[in-house]
């Protein structure tokens, strides 16, 4: 088993945190995982991406080439991070921000991630957790139990309920997309 993910967006959307949580969930499920990231010198804004490799074999090269799953949460990220997708890739977009993706014939699913976060949790801040729920709901790369545990281990105290709601909303988006 080996799955590769690239999560791209604007600095501040929480996608590096999302990558860390996804990798931690993989460890909880007994897999090996590597998370890496790249970002510019800016503290906020600018494009940022997190990459995650989940495998049951040792992982050496830490970057992702030809991601199996690409999540893009800004148009700039879609423009920058889809270039090495293949027809076998799956591109998940946040439909609020992304219109065009040139992803070499990859399958594309548009999800209302940020608006769902605002609707369910009252803040767009939880969009990264909604997105994680959707990615895991669609790819089944880790168990929902491990993902929930990893989210709760990582988020600030007092935000557990909102994060659980965000995850559930993400799973629901995935379930709807699957129909």
């Amino acid at each position: 088993m080996r799955q590769t993910f690239r999560l791209g967006g604007t600095g501040g959307q929480g996608l590096i945190t999302a990558g860390i949580i996804l990798a931690e969930a993989a460890l909880l499920d007994g897999y090996l995982a590597i998370q890496s990231q790249s970002y510019g010198p800016e503290a906020r804004g600018g494009s940022s991406k997190a990459e995650v490799i989940i495998s049951d074999e040792p992982i050496h090269f830490s970057r992702v080439t030809h991601p199996e799953t690409l999540l893009v949460m800004s148009q700039e990220a879609a423009d920058k991070f889809a270039h090495d997708c293949t027809a076998k890739s799956l591109v998940i977009t946040d439909s609020l921000f992304v219109s065009n993706v040139a992803a070499n014939g990859a399958k594309r699913i548009d999800l209302d991630i940020t608006r769902t976060a605002t609707r369910v949790c009252g803040k767009p801040l939880f969009a990264n957790i909604v997105a994680l729920g959707a990615v895991v709901g669609i790819t089944h790369c880790v168990s929902e139990k491990a993902l929930t545990q990893a989210v709760l281990d990582r988020v600030p105290k007092g935000t557990e309920d909102a994060n659980k709601k965000a995850l559930a909303a993400g799973f629901e988006l995935a379930a709807k997309a699957g129909k």
Partner: protein, 385 residues
């Protein structure tokens, strides 16, 4: 078996944990990308173990405080990146000549000057060897994984204490910022701590730089009753400056000798699938991670390729590289710079086999596919394919 916990950890954080496990009690420094998590982590962890963290006004003072803390008897370290490493060079020279144990982590970024703060590079290889002026001998080690960040930081501290020398932990953004699985002991109490040799003679008989056959003098903590003079000037056994040519020669011979006489203790390399290899890659740090995968891909195509991964960068693994050149028909050095380590590889190979360079300096690590193409190109050139 000690109790352990499994977690996802960043390389820089594993350096922090390695330092705490080794008994480091002082950190002085100035945060700089991509090493900042080390300063952040030490600021959080040191107070938990009775240590002190100091954010200094600049990079030079960062190492200055570390030297002071070490003279006071504490295991001490700092971390930086290229621009700060440049600024620290004068203090590194002082630590070499005054023989003050310390660990300096350099998480490299693209240079020169402020370069590319968040992008990987291995452009400081030669600077770790020759950054400060004058002949001098330091130890430089380079980790390739998060678990190795933990163990090699402990080793860096141990080597610094044992040989009274600055030890530079040469890292890159790849290993510093990636997160992977690590299994750490719940308690570090059972991890052996290496202590520097301290004087056993009465204070009035203490000669600060008189060494036994190990060539490493015993070091007294400041404030412990032993009085001695610390100077960057060439000095004799008393520590006071001496202008005679013989003093310079004796000092240089001992400073070099204390490292080179113990090269077998200091130099470590990892050999990966070299037993039957007819072609070898030499790569270190984050760049070596590409090589493991490229070698496995090459072997799937029937090519007998292996890797020698230097864990100790300086002193140079001369015998190891020389022996490798006798057992393979070609060597490819891969580094994330325009070609630095390869200079020493060529000198050690002495023409026994062709030495190729795969230099990469475009902000990105090489992919295994890129490296496989380089391997095949080089093997063709050498008539092995």
């Amino acid at each position: 078996m000690a109790k352990t916990k499994v977690m996802l950890m960043q390389g820089n954080t594993a350096v922090v944990e390695g330092a705490i496990a080794a008994g480091v009690k002082f950190y002085g420094g100035y945060p700089i990308t991509p090493s900042t998590e080390i300063a952040e982590g030490m600021a959080k962890r040191l107070p938990m173990v009775g240590g002190k963290f100091m954010q200094t006004e600049d990079e030079i003072a960062g190492l200055g405080t570390v030297i002071g803390a070490s003279l006071g008897g504490l295991k001490a370290m700092t971390a930086t990146s290229g621009p700060g490493f440049s600024l620290k060079q004068e203090m590194i020279g002082l630590a070499c000549n005054a023989e003050v144990p310390c660990v300096i982590v350099d998480v490299q970024r693209v240079g020169p000057s402020t370069g590319q703060p968040t992008s990987p590079s291995q452009g400081d290889v030669m600077q770790t060897k020759w950054g400060t002026h004058g002949d001098h001998w330091v130890i430089v080690v380079s980790p390739s994984s998060v678990p190795e960040c933990f163990t090699l930081t402990q080793r860096a501290v141990a080597l610094a204490e044992k040989y009274r020398v600055p030890v530079i932990m040469l890292m890159d953004e790849i290993v510093g910022h990636m997160r992977e699985r690590i299994e750490l002991p719940v308690s570090y109490d059972d991890i052996p701590k290496v202590e520097r040799k301290r004087p056993t003679c009465p204070p009035e008989e203490f000669l600060a730089y008189a060494a036994d056959e190990s060539k490493v003098p015993a070091m007294a903590d400041f404030g412990s009753g032993y009085r001695w003079h610390v100077s960057g000037l060439v000095h004799d056994e008393t520590g006071f400056p001496k202008g005679a040519g013989s003093a310079t020669r004796e000092s240089q011979d001992r400073l070099r000798g204390k490292i080179m006489a113990h090269r077998d203790d200091i130099i470590q390399v990892e050999r990966y699938k070299l037993d039957d290899a007819e072609f070898a890659i030499i790569a270190f740090g984050g760049a070596a991670r590409t090589a493991y995968d490229a070698i496995d891909m090459a072997r799937a195509r029937g090519l007998r390729v292996g890797m020698m991964r230097p864990i100790t960068i300086w002193p140079f693994a001369r015998h190891e590289v020389s022996d490798l050149a006798k057992s393979v028909k070609g060597i490819l050095v891969h580094e994330l710079n325009c070609g630095q380590y390869v200079i020493s590889v060529k000198a050690a190979v002495e023409g026994r086999c062709p030495v190729h360079l795969y230099a990469k300096y475009d902000n990105e690590s090489a992919t295994p596919e890129d490296m496989l193409a380089e391997i095949e190109r080089a093997m063709k050139e050498d008539g092995l394919l």
